[in-house]
Amino acid sequence: MNPQRTLATTGRVLIQIRNDPRTIALLLIVPSLLIGLVAWIFDETEVFADIGPAMLALFPFIVMFLVTSIATLRERRSGTLERLLSMPLGRGDFILGYTLAFGLLAVVQTAVAVGYATLVCGLEIEGSVVLLFVVAIADALLGTALGLLASAFARTEFQVVQFMPVFVFPQILLGGIFLPRDQLPDVLEVIGDWLPLSHAIDALGAVSTGDEDDTYIWLRVLFIACWIVGAVIVGSLTLRRRTP
């Protein structure tokens, strides 16, 4: 690994995104639109105050999962990955390069979504806004890491899009948005407790209510970080210099 090559990769990914203004617009506007829609649906109820923070956790995760899995699949299929791996680029440079680029994107996306949710939709954040960003970035990196992993198991774009429900939906269903996790059947509660998105949702809920101390939130972030590291390790094993 080499910082210059990692940063070159980050820069390259960011230029690719910059050359695609429609993607930028979708990345930045869609979360706000959906948050606005949910706020409108639950107008004059207390529900939005509960699920609003959870929605902030979902977007960076889902979007980065999709973007990374498709971008990596494109690299594999276009031959650029093979070219890079025949050059002095470390696998870590490749993964970290992508992670940095998408992490940065997640910061911007979260800033827009949080701004819209609090200023326009009236979501109240009692806790630390910095911690909110920390959780959102951890979420985005989790999406990036799992997306990288998913792309290894997909041969076509059709398949990689199908992986989204596999990796994402169970986490949403068991994460406590629909039903608090302690009210789930025992087995599902245990599974839910081990999934990373559950902890992101818990952490963002805690940030918005301000009920828990910082340690509670950092522990949740640590849990997500373990998942990220695990997914990156498994994902980097799927990036082989030599292929059949």
């Binding site: 210059q4 090559r5 070159a8 990769t9 820069g11 390259r12 230029i15 690719q16 050359n19 695609d20 276009s78 031959g79 650029t80 093979e82 070219r83 890079l84 791996l85 025949s86 050059m87 002095p88 680029l89 210099r241 030599r242 292929t243 059949p244």
Partner: protein
């Protein structure tokens, strides 16, 4: 040439000058493969292949589609999983870390980023390669792409995209360029230009391994390796190829060699021309020939 591995006893009995010869032989070759075997699934794609490629020349790797050219090139670059044998590139094991800056690889499809400009593509690859910034302009100029430098790669014609891919392989002036069908789909003028560029690169000391399934390009190479069904069936020069087969064109000569290789059982429905006498062209024998024939017969019945 002694391409086989030396036994321990032979190795010990070498005299100083013999050692010198051996080292010279090993380092003088850009590529030396022995017993290279590659399997894809259960199928053996390349079976126990021996090969040497001298330095500073243009070596044409010719053969029909599916003959194993790309697989062999990938093994030389070090991105192919190899089942057995050894490949030495510039005196080191193929795929070693320090070769990655000395070997340039151009894949068959233009492996560049469509959503980046030509210059942004090359700038990124130059940084990965550790090549100086000025190298981008150098390769743009040599591949005649200065006019397209700020165009998005997506908007390029197929031939232009291919040249960007070639330009990327030339970054950092590697000692060995492995080019997989670089002239495919190009018009005759561009093709001639590219071969001119290859010749100049070779004169500057670069070794070029260029694959093609257009046999007419054979005459532009210094040496020819003819591949068929995963084996190198002839290792020759353009002149010897024509002289030994007596064929009028490289394509005819290639068909003649295939016929000789299959023991005269191939090639029906084509008028024969030329004499057969492989004096200068070194026809390599191979163990797999019988098995290959059996495979073909099975394939024919399907």
């Amino acid at each position: 040439m002694g391409k086989g591995r030396l036994g321990e006893s032979e190795r010990l009995s070498l005299t100083g000058s013999e050692w010198g010869c051996l080292i010279h032989h090993m380092t003088n070759n850009a590529v030396a493969a022995s017993g290279l075997t590659i399997r894809r699934g259960r199928k053996t794609v390349i079976d126990s292949l021996d090969l040497t490629v001298p330095r500073g020349a243009i070596i044409g790797l010719l053969g029909p589609s599916g003959s194993g050219k790309t697989t062999l090139m990938r093994a030389i670059v070090g991105v192919q999983i190899v089942a057995g044998g050894r490949v030495q590139v510039l005196g080191r094991a193929a795929g070693s870390a320090d070769l990655r800056q000395r070997v340039g690889y151009m894949t068959q499809s233009a492996s560049i980023y469509e959503d980046l400009s030509v210059r942004a593509n090359l700038r990124y690859f130059a940084r990965v390669q550790g090549a100086p910034k000025t190298d981008v302009d150098r390769v743009l100029e040599r591949t005649d792409l200065l006019g397209q430098a700020d165009q998005l790669a997506r908007t390029l014609s197929g031939g232009q995209a291919n040249r960007v891919s070639l330009a990327a392989a030339m970054l950092g002036s590697p000692d060995l360029l492995v080019l997989d069908e670089p002239t495919v789909g190009l018009d005759p003028v561009l093709r001639a230009d590219l071969w001119g560029l290859f010749r100049r690169l070779a004169e500057e000391g670069t070794t070029l391994l260029v694959s093609s399934h257009v046999m007419d390009e054979a005459t532009r190479c210094d040496r020819l390796l003819l591949m068929r069904e995963g084996a190198v069936i002839a290792d020759t020069t353009p002149r010897d190829l024509l002289a030994s087969t007596g064929a009028a064109s490289a394509e005819e000569a290639f068909l003649d060699i295939i016929e000789a290789d299959t023991g005269g059982s191939g090639r029906t429905g084509r008028a024969r021309s030329g004499r057969h006498g492989h004096s200068g062209t070194h026809l390599l024998s191979r163990e797999g020939a019988g098995r290959d024939r059996a495979d073909r017969t099975r394939g024919g019945r399907r």
